[in-house]
Symmetry: C2
Subunit: 364 residues, 2 copies
DNA sequence: CTGAAAGCGCTTACAG
DNA sequence: CTGAAAGCGCTTACAG
């Protein structure tokens, strides 16, 4: 890293040095606009709010003044007076997981159409950081929050919040939590995936990843057991391995089920990044998913189809979930706290090569 | 998608319905705190600001009142009066590219230590959306902006902004742009990567991806040509393929250089997602990176080492760049617009299997 | 449609 | 350390 260099105020290639700062000039306000346009302050305010009360000619004069003076609307002042804001906070447990990024992009897109600005914060599964972030967002006047709670979040802590502010939980919810909820049909998705593995003849099917206490895991595990029972298979506890929901977690969980006296021949993973860890672990051992072990993920992130072999997964439409979470929250903000909703989204099995049901070249 | 269901106010499993909204209660302000703590408004303000002027006993009484009343500090009101904010805006061209997510995570981390809240917005390479986002962030009183400008951004448009607000450009800068700049040493990194390919005996080396007008591409292409010249190789224009800096772009560019009368045997890709597209395209053709074609990416995102084969790449430390961009911007905010800085970060070649220099199992 | 007045919740001098 | 006063930039009734 020896060549890192810092060149204060210098030129890099064609880059130009900043000019001296503009003279400390007073902020342009609606009073200035009013004066220049020859109207009252109130009229300017009406124009800014898009009121139909103002005649076209005056409206044009106001906009002219706005452009000429380089006026910037001060939303802080406006919301101080009106007690309304257009800020939406996103509190995400792990943005390094591409699935949550897809969720965030969906939320962001939904905000675009509503003139709402999304704040985003990554808690990194840290409940202390999560509490800080939520406090900061409240202090900044967020009109509502979309939360993917960190592992270990206490519902009671958040209920104190959700009783005062519209909150929507996305993907993850909490036992005894209050607020809107937008989640995929975890149980159904897991059941479908497991049933597929059973139909391929597997009898030692593992469930890999997720931590105890995570409702998402409980639900997916329930669907997993449903399908085992339907296929007349026993649920061996040794095949239900807890692990952090990330790549290293997947790798560790794989090692565990391969080391059993009766190793697993197939696995449903808690999510796609766990499955990617499993794929990676297989490659390290000279094994191949779809041939030596059937692997299915959950989420169907964009990366899934690019794995070698392409990863079979349960598609939950992350961006769509994000859009719906935003829509639910915006409705809740508009309608008041009592308007919480629950949305259960789809969970479709997308079969690719990693589960061994299709040739390696398919699903690409 | 038939099973998607919306259940307003209903129960999902253990989830509880929200209680009726709390009675519309007046907001708790510092006046309430002052009254309860038996001090003046000014004293509360001093305590909130962490001033050492207030005696410990009073400070404790104030904090007690804050907890008891559930007071939430109103940053909007504070910044309206003080004309200062702790909001930092991030304007990112493409958050779906994991590299920019790494950058954003670095920025976020740097903000944590400074009580600064980062806004994030994804422009999706859309200059119109970018302009909207920047306006909105200004209206919300952002103290400064970190911008990864969208392809096609006009420097003149942004200079009107950067003359009024501290701005740091991360990864991408603009011809004639003003503001701080934090970028890796693109030219050196590309030269190293290309020299490595030449040293392996390749004589038909392609440069794939990036769009005309992108400075990053110009710089990487310059390093590419440097290394070709040093190796005594001619720069064949047919081997310099423009393409969007994403996976489909990489795939399309690969098709082009494989279709030439004298196909390329090696390629340096504009960035890792382009390289991943190339890897994917090779797999589709039954070809293998590292054996049938040497492939090197740029950025070294976390995904790179998980490819099959693992991707050789030029590591630029995305999170580190993000942290430095934030540090530069925060200094600039503190010191005034004239304090713009330029930082050139490292660009180290990380050799893995995709360029054919090491066995496939290494670099995992 | 317009104008004058009040007030959102805070910080900032300023006099005690 | 404390208290009273002013003001940040806007919106909101309210009377014309």
């Amino acid at each position: 890293m020896g060549e890192a260099s810092v060149v204060a105020g210098a030129e890099i290639g064609t880059f130009q040095v900043a000019p001296p700062p503009a003279a400390e000039t007073r902020r342009v306000t609606i009073v200035d606009i009013a004066r220049r346009a020859g109207v009252s302050k109130s009229t300017v305010s009406l124009v800014l709010a898009g009121s139909p009360l103002v005649r076209e000619a005056k409206r044009a004069r106001v906009h002219e003044a706005i452009d000429a003076l380089g006026y910037v609307y001060h939303r802080g002042a406006a919301s101080l007076r009106s007690a309304r804001t257009s800020l939406l906070g996103m509190v995400i447990n792990d943005l390094a997981n591409p699935f949550f990024m897809e969720l965030a992009i969906g939320i962001e897109r939904a905000c675009q159409t509503s003139d709402v600005v999304p704040f985003i914060a990554n808690t990194g599964e840290n409940v202390v950081r999560q509490a800080q972030v939520i406090r900061l967002m409240r202090e900044h006047g967020a009109a509502g929050l979309i939360i993917c709670p960190a592992i270990g979040t206490d519902a009671a802590d958040l209920n104190a919040l959700t009783d005062r502010l519209p909150v929507a939980f996305a993907m993850r919810r909490l036992h005894g939590g209050r607020g809107s909820v937008v989640v995929p049909d975890n149980r159904l998705g897991a059941r479908r995936a497991t049933a597929h593995l059973a139909s391929l003849g597997h009898r030692r099917i593992a469930f890999l990843g997720g931590m105890p206490g995570m409702i998402v895991r409980e639900e997916r595990l329930a669907g997993f057991r449903d399908a085992l029972a339907e296929a007349g298979l026993a649920a061996d506890p040794a095949l239900q391995v807890e692990a952090l929901p990330n790549r290293p977690g997947g790798r560790a969980a794989l090692a565990q089920v391969l080391g059993l006296p009766h190793p697993a021949t197939a696995c449903l993973c808690f999510n796609d990044v766990v499955a990617i860890g499993v794929l990676h672990g297989l490659t390290e051992r000279g094994l191949m998913a779809g041939r030596d072990m059937a692997v299915i993920g959950f989420d169907d992130i964009a990366e899934a189809r690019q794995m070698v072999p392409p990863l079979t997964s349960v598609a939950v439409d992350g961006e769509g979930l994000g859009e719906r979470a935003a829509a639910v929250l915006l409705r809740q903000i508009a309608a008041g706290a009592a308007a919480s909703e629950s949305v259960i989204g789809p969970a479709e099995l997308v079969v690719r090569a990693s589960c061994g049901a299709t040739p390696t070249s398919e699903g690409v």
